[in-house]
């Protein structure tokens, strides 16, 4: 008799598979207030590793961290017309504080462009103060009617960068640096994610931006997920908040700005891009635990050996956890590590010890084979790098296999409905075609230039639109 699967199979019901996995791998729970989320230690550990790596990359670009208040006066939001229009439907409003009704209600930040400009306007006096490069790690709130853990939650965690520059070109180049050298580099090289870098259409742009750069990934079901965005804000917020500087030439000028963000949604993307019917598959460079050494049974020789292997692998630079909880059945523990996506399991029982070997089980390619104990410290780092590369390759191959080149709106909608992406010349689609697709819940994820680079304008000749259903 076949065992009942641990998770609903992806092919049967992908959203259900996702929920099952989030729950059984102990990544997160639903919060009590609709749309909120409890991030459990294993899920938070993934986010912490992402934060550490990203934070170092952001600082390497000369950016400093700071912290701006959670509460924003409602009047600030209204200063930039497109911005308030974009965010008004999602706001959470505090009306009472300290037992009294507030004179002016305050908004729980959905993003911080407005409050940050209030301070940039005070801090920036002269061209010497530019560029001003600030980032914050924070929680934000956007009321969510159709919440899904990690992907769309009423509160989420993120970093939001905000910069001010003396010239349009400097701002544009900085937004692009973040897009490519921070976000894309991190996602490809640490998260092993396949991402398409492009430009949002006017319809999909951030509320208040003159240009939005995006990274789009294909999930296991063929849908698209936006993984990070970097915006050129032009002088829109500078005008609204009068953020001026004295130029080298002695003139008062408005600053040029950028903002850019990436969120806990990346954890959801990790699940949906790399996960399979047995659970998560964590890229080794990200993994808090790269290898788990399991004692199959609780005899002394086995316990001593798993600890020794743990120590030797730690010394070899591998992030190891020893699992000697032999009061829990081995099978249950093995399934649990499989669910949690730890890249390598090293299983040790009395029979293995006799042969001087351990069973090495690789989560990412699958498969197991016995390995001599003294070969483990050399083998593991190689295996981990191989598996890191494999994950990226598999994701890339899936996207290529599931992307169709088309020429009409109908064909694009069909490809999206069939669980894939369509590529269509923007000249063949245009804003009208985009509107027609929207009626079928299909969107233009981004525009990409003919040579694969990020175009400078929506209407640059040769632009190709990537079209898909999206989370």
């Amino acid at each position: 008799m076949a065992k009942a699967p641990v998770l609903t199979p992806q092919a049967e019901d992908f959203p259900r598979w996702y929920q099952d996995l989030i729950n059984k791998a102990e990544l997160a729970d639903n919060g009590p207030v609709r749309g909120t989320m409890v991030i459990r230690p294993y899920g938070y550990g993934l986010w912490e590793r992402m934060q550490q790596d990203m934070d170092a990359r952001i600082k390497a670009e000369g950016v400093q961290n700071a912290y701006f208040p959670l509460f924003i006066p409602q009047s600030y939001l209204t200063k930039e017309a497109e911005h308030v229009e974009g965010f008004a439907p999602e706001l959470a409003i505090v009306t009472h504080g300290g037992g009294k009704k507030l004179e002016e209600p305050v908004v729980v930040r959905p993003t911080s462009e407005t409050i940050i400009n209030e301070y940039f306007a005070k801090w920036v006096q002269s061209y010497r103060d530019l560029p001003l490069l600030i980032n914050q790690w924070a929680n934000v709130v956007r009321w969510e009617l159709r919440p899904r853990l990690f992907l769309r939650t009423s509160e989420f965690l993120w970093q939001e960068g905000h910069t001010a520059h003396a010239t349009y070109e400097d701002a544009r180049d900085f937004a692009s640096r973040i897009h490519r050298h921070v976000y894309a580099d991190f996602m490809e090289n640490v998260l092993a994610m396949d991402v398409v870098l492009g430009r949002k259409t006017a319809k999909e742009r951030f509320a208040g931006a003159i240009n939005t750069l995006t990274l789009e990934g294909m999930m296991g079901d063929g849908k698209a997920l936006q993984l990070g965005t970097s915006h050129e804000l032009g002088q829109n917020f500078a005008r609204a908040f009068n953020t001026q500087f004295l130029s080298k030439e002695g003139k008062q000028e408005l600053v040029w700005q950028t903002s850019w963000g990436s969120t806990t949604r990346m954890v959801g993307a990790l699940v949906m891009m790399h996960g399979d019917d047995s659970g998560l598959r964590i890229p080794p460079r990200l993994a808090p635990v790269q290898a788990v050494v399991l004692a199959i049974k609780g005899d002394e020789a086995v316990l001593a050996k798993v600890r020794e292997i743990g120590d030797r692998l730690t010394a070899a630079g591998v992030r190891v956890q020893v699992d000697d909880r032999t009061d829990t059945p081995f099978g249950r523990r093995a399934v649990d590590w499989e669910l949690k996506g730890v890249p390598v399991r090293i299983e040790v029982g009395p029979r293995d010890l006799e042969g001087g070997t351990a069973m090495v089980v690789r989560r990412i390619p699958g498969g197991k084979e016995p390995v001599r104990l003294d070969a483990l410290p050399d083998l593991l780092p190689k295996v981990l790098e191989e598996d890191q590369a494999l994950l990226l390759r598999q994701a890339r191959e899936r996207r290529e296999a599931r992307t169709t080149d088309v020429r009409t709106v109908e064909e694009a909608a069909e490809a999206a409905a069939a669980g894939g992406w369509a590529r269509i010349p923007w000249a063949d689609l245009g804003p009208e075609g985009e509107a027609a697709l929207a009626e079928q819940a299909v969107s233009v994820r981004c525009l990409v230039a003919e040579d694969g680079s990020v175009p400078d304008a929506d209407d640059a000749p040769g632009n190709v639109a990537f079209v898909a259903r999206a989370y």
Copy 2:
């Protein structure tokens, strides 16, 4: 003619000195919503260094980080009677979300005992799940009528630890470990802070706790500041949320809990414990920049030399910044580094180069002397450790000098009013004396046993009360 002081002198107006310093050292600004705070990059850099160090210590105790929602249903707060009474006057309430009035208003977390218990009750089934040791780094909101930057703000950043244990003894020991091995050790050895470890009286206890352990520091004006607390919650929240486990003996029992927190207030404490009339003095082990190498003038030889010194000191393990902004007058830059409290300045001008020396200016003891360039890499680490020790010694000596042993309520109130602390046997004070002191805005900061240890009970024989005005 004497130069105008950079800051209001401490002796003239301590609160004004504090405000001046926070402002001129660019630590923080007032936020637009009353009581909120913008933490500027230099202030946030101090907090980040605190976080990193504390986070490692917390994890070394076996605690895992997680994240619980900002929004808590109002009904949760009311489940523990003392808890709601303590926090109700400080709550911020969200009444509208996503454009609609909410069916049940939600509270912006003032602390997370209630929401965390809701999940502990689900996660804990058996004694095998205990102890459950969780921490989160988060923002919290407590509406503040008399805000002061870092010390009392409507929103602040903190870590809050929450643990569940099988026995009273295990919970008690854990609360004590955090109090001594995490908080006190960090504050003394990294922040160079002199702290008194004690027990809060029943009046001063956390709302919902059966015991609160505290760390109290004396600020430059002789007032006390509570620097961190670790609470034994007993079974109060477990009872309210039905957080039960199946014991080894097969019985359903309520867990025993702790919670403990430390906040951005520590930045304010750092200012007020170590600052002087020239600005901050940052303990070297904390300092993001331990030594700044200043080019006095912009000639090529000087600029090349400051960069070389910077590289050599970095190689010697010192956190260095090179200041070659010679388009700003040297004097202004020197005052600014003094304000920011960087422990060591190394000033290099053309004349120094001729002599093969640099001027080493020590912020903590004060004073300057020329040092041969090749002696710097050996000298700096020694100087930094000396100055770290000096800061702690100075703080301790000040507390001892300004603490008076008394026997009556009147004497205690007098000592506090004179800008110091009083030590009085708890048997001579008691709850009635404590109430009498409260009328004069003087409080019992903590109880300490005769031998200096933390007492097990308010009424243990020999307990001494530390009495002071407090922030």
